[in-house]
Amino acid sequence: AAGVIQSPRHLIKEKRETATLKCYPIPRHDTVYWYQQGPGQDPQFLISFYEKMQSDKGSIPDRFSAQQFSDYHSELNMSSLELGDSALYFCASSSQASEAQPQHFGDGTRLSIL
């Protein structure tokens, strides 16, 4: 079965650079969630989108922005990168149509800031 696709799998950037992470949800899933997992930490919710509109916001820094496009894929844009942004960034998707639909996670993008 098709899963959540994230790209790139690994990304190395330097401080103050920008990065764009992409997420392609499972087909027919209309909701996308972004999580950040620092080393040895639990995943922290950043932001979510439903039907291309932001539906909820968590601990996302102002330097980050995200959007969901008409094909339901989502991009997380990160600017003025800091060492502390080094983490694993997960995208998850679900369908709002079904209350019992759990979130399915992608493999994540490992972002390293030098």
Partner: protein, 112 residues
Amino acid sequence: AQSVSQHNHHVILSEAASLELGCNYSYGGTVNLFWYVQYPGQHLQLLLKYFSGDPLVKGIKGFEAEFIKSKFSFNLRKPSVQWSDTAEYFCAVVGSARQLTFGSGTQLTVLP
């Protein structure tokens, strides 16, 4: 806002031992509860979920969990662990806002 507490940060067991990982949640409304597993270097995989109905839910790989509303708990159990169960286990809750709130995770190490 919802929160999740996992009491065991690191559990070490021998193969064939029984497992129980504790999870307590805090949320005033209707909760949906999950256990996810994360193998080294991999993404989060859903083990099992509770939405309603039978409070004893069975998941993949022989795992089960029991929702006890009076104790705000959703403990994960497995009668006999295997070396391949070595991983980090996260309990999570979804409240009205639909995003997952995770516990701090429990690292399970199974010794062969």
